[in-house]
């Protein structure tokens, strides 16, 4: 594949400058040259692993590159020894914003339905994992018998490889042979066709993801809980606070730095949680439970691969998450968090 350069050189007129006192950069270099030297390897590694692919992905989203038109000439060797080459009549080219227009207007793929599914999926998963994780962390944060055993037990879902859990859960929700419907039948209820309706199908994925996501929340929040000074609880007890008041006025504010971080991480992870949807619901019924990442995968990698469409989805997903992160940090700053 040939790499085309996109650098457009715009000649900028050099302003005539009289020698000024050394700038900030210069001073910083003189003073901290060793620090600069220390971060250089990281910068190089990051630019190779992150920044270059990112820039290339953004560039590809403005082209119509697919698997079929990536080669300028198509060559087919023959079993008898010849090689026939012909120029590819529709080789890839720069198409500007076409991909974005087609994706956002719904001409190609199902961007908006998938976007709303993603929002619902993310919010539900994060709310539940955080809520359940917080509850269990508070429960486990008191001296009791077998505490470490419970802690290990609750972290178990984390130790199981993700795809194994996904397959197990999918089978548990199987209509004819799954354990969930067997239990429903045992208590005299009708079995549910879990994957036949968008919302029940999405709930199977959400349940799976909650089961997988709670351990991370428990561990992080337990760490946060141990950091809250015991004096605060003692003082609150002396003042005659009820357990609920203690939880509301001591525990929650004490946990805020940890909470904010895990909520942000949880949101970004869940938003891009590919395997659960892909393996548990497989987008069923009829693609209605696809989220953006799985939708992008299907749009781009089934049949003749569409690299430019995949990049377009990628850039759109990245933009959504960037906007979210910026607003999230703003909100935090308003609350006086240093972050």
């Amino acid at each position: 594949m040939s790499t085309a350069t996109v650098g457009r050189r715009t000649p900028t007129p050099e302003p005539v400058r009289e020698p000024a006192p050394p700038g900030r950069l210069r001073r910083s270099w003189d003073k901290h040259w060793y620090a600069w030297a220390m971060v250089t390897p990281v910068v190089i590694v990051l630019s190779v692993l992150v920044f270059y692919p990112l820039a290339r992905g953004i560039y590809l989203s403005f082209t119509d590159l697919t698997e079929a038109n990536q080669q300028r000439e198509l060559c087919t060797p023959s079993i008898t020894g010849e090689l026939t080459c012909q120029a590819n009549p529709n080789a890839w080219e720069f198409v500007g914003l076409d991909n974005y227009i087609q994706v956002l207007s719904g001409q190609i793929g199902q961007f908006w339905p998938q976007f709303w599914t993603t929002i619902i999926w993310t919010v539900t998963c994060v709310v539940f994992t955080y809520g359940i994780g917080l509850g269990l962390a508070v429960l486990l944060n008191r001296p009791m018998r077998g505490r470490s055993f419970y802690r290990v037990l609750l972290i178990l879902p984390w130790a199981v490889p993700g795809f194994v859990s996904a397959f197990s859960w999918r089978f548990m929700f199987n209509h004819d042979f799954g354990v969930v419907n067997a239990l429903l039948k045992a208590v005299g209820l009708d079995p549910v066709h879990w994957f036949d309706d968008k919302w029940t199908a999405l709930s199977t994925a959400i349940i799976t993801n909650i089961w997988l996501g709670v351990p991370f929340m428990i561990v992080s929040l337990l760490g946060g809980l141990t950091a809250i000074p015991a004096e605060l609880y003692e003082a609150a007890t002396i003042d005659g606070a009820t357990p609920w008041q203690k939880f509301k006025n001591v525990t929650l504010p004490g946990l805020r730095p940890v909470s904010m971080t895990v909520l942000l991480l949880g949101t970004i992870w869940t938003f891009n949680m590919f395997p659960i949807i892909f393996l548990v619901t497989r987008g069923q019924p009829a693609g209605q439970t696809e989220i953006l990442v799985t939708g992008a995968y299907r749009a781009a990698f089934e049949g003749i691969r569409n690299y430019s469409l995949a990049s377009t989805y990628g850039v759109l997903i990245l933009s959504i998450l960037l906007v979210f992160s910026v607003f999230y940090r703003r909100a935090l700053r308003k609350q006086g968090e240093v972050w």
Binding site: L74, C75, T76, T80, R170, W194, A201, P285, G287, G303
Partner: protein
């Protein structure tokens, strides 16, 4: 690539010149083929083969075949790799695009061949001795290897969808002949349900499995010759509606949206459903299921027909050679594919697995002639319908699968669902076709 192509062009020129001079040149590959034919032991190479068949049910038989091949060609090492069918196409394309790591020989599904050929990933086999007896291959499976007037593969097995039924359950219901139309299926199902109390029919909620219904009314997905999308035409809509009605009125089990195929097979093997629509690739699986009662309990009949005709889609697999394979391996690869697709090998697979040969001459061999499964599937093949062999052929099924779930599971209007499929085809799959 650059250097190699120069070399190849030089070779090509040399071959062309010698051909013009009408002399048996001793450097062209045809003569090395001949040499291999005279002395198989002198041929030495190592080939990788990606087998995409089911590793549990079918793989062992293919490995046995390789042993037989090595008895004849002891110095050709075949590295057998079983690659899951679902991932094989993507894996192959990734490694072929990267020009490394792709197998020399790939067992490609019939619809993959035009696509892979259009991307330049396959050897053009025209003029090799593999195609010497091309007329011996069945026409429809052979046609899937043609793209742009050239041939890119050799048929390995062929198949089509058929009506598989449980003979005991039919006998218990007093049904003597397999139903020939969907209307007869309906009456048979009612009898089975009332007499045995079990489920009668399972239609898998996948696009491929609705094709017999569409063909039955004389419809098709696209008309490749006229470059026209016909998936939402009146015949296709009528066909899909028949399938929907069978589920609606309880003739067929309501399939689940997820894992329908697996559930269908489990129910059939446990004798909880009397009829399914499936292909010969599951025969070995059904045979080895302890709950089913062996092959003598398995009935195979041509897929029931609609108002126009009866026919299932032609499926199957081809042997293809990766275009990135070095030229010096050609004689070995040709020998291997030739051996694997010989009538004797095909007969061996038919006997072992019930897979259907793609050669006319193989059907005359006793091993095939006396095979009940093959005999049962033969009429199925005769009525099988060729699919459009175009590079986009593999992309027709994504939207079709969605449609199948919408129609069979969620009970949506067939016309509206098929209109959506047609719209997707137009905007994403075959942009130059007319609606």
């Amino acid at each position: 690539m650059r250097i190699r192509s120069v070399g190849m062009i030089a070779t090509a020129l040399a071959v062309a010149l010698t051909a013009a001079a009408c002399s048996g040149n001793d450097k062209s590959s045809t003569s090395s083929d001949k040499k291999a034919a005279t002395d198989p032991k002198s041929l030495s190479a190592s080939l990788t083969w990606w087998d995409t068949s089911d590793p549990k049910n079918e793989g062992p038989a293919f490995q046995e075949l390789i042993k037989k091949f090595n008895a004849e060609y002891p110095n050709v090492k075949v590295d057998y790799q079983s690659v899951p069918f679902a991932d094989a196409q993507n894996k192959f394309k990734t490694s072929a695009a990267a020009k490394s790591g792709a197998p020399d020989i790939l067992r490609a599904e019939v619809a993959w061949v035009p696509e892979l050929a259009s991307l330049g990933y396959l050897y053009n086999l025209d003029g090799s001795e593999l195609l010497k007896d091309e007329s011996d291959f069945l026409a429809t499976p052979m046609s899937s290897n043609k793209f742009g007037g050239k041939t890119y593969g050799v048929p390995q097995v062929t198949d089509s969808l058929a009506l598989l039924y449980n003979k005991k359950m039919f006998a218990a219901a007093g049904i003597t002949a397999a139903p020939k139309t969907w209307a007869e299926v309906k009456t048979a199902a009612a009898t089975i349900k009332s007499k045995t109390g079990k489920q009668a029919l399972f239609i898998n909620s996948g696009g491929y499995f609705l094709l017999p219904f569409i063909y039955g009314e004389g419809g098709d997905v696209v008309d490749a010759a006229a470059k026209k999308i016909t998936v939402n035409g009146p015949q296709a809509v009528a066909g899909v509606k028949i399938a929907q009605d069978l589920v609606k009125d309880g003739t067929a089990v309501k399939p689940p949206a997820n894992d329908a195929y697996g559930n269908m097979m489990t129910l059939f093997k446990e004798q909880k459903v009397a009829m399914i629509i499936n292909g010969p690739w599951e025969v070995n699986n059904i045979k080895s299921a302890p709950t089913f009662g062996g092959l003598e309990n398995l009935g195979v009949a041509p897929v029931p027909g609609g108002s126009a005709k009866a026919g299932g889609p032609v499926g199957g697999h081809n042997y293809t050679i990766w275009s990135g394979m070095p030229q010096e391996k050609v004689p070995a690869a040709v020998a291997f594919v030739k051996f694997m697709s010989s009538p004797e090998s095909q007969a061996f697979l038919a006997e072992k697995l019930g897979l259907l040969p793609t050669r006319t001459s193989a059907y005359d061999l006793p091993a095939v002639k006396n095979n009940a499964t093959v005999a049962a599937f033969k009429p199925v093949l005769d009525s099988a319908v060729a699919r459009p062999w175009i590079p986009e052929g593999g992309q027709f099924f994504g939207p079709m699968d969605k449609m199948a779930v919408e129609v069979l599971v969620q009970n949506k209007d067939p016309k509206a669902s098929l209109d959506t499929v047609a719209k997707t085809y137009k905007s994403e799959v075959v942009k130059d076709y007319s609606n």
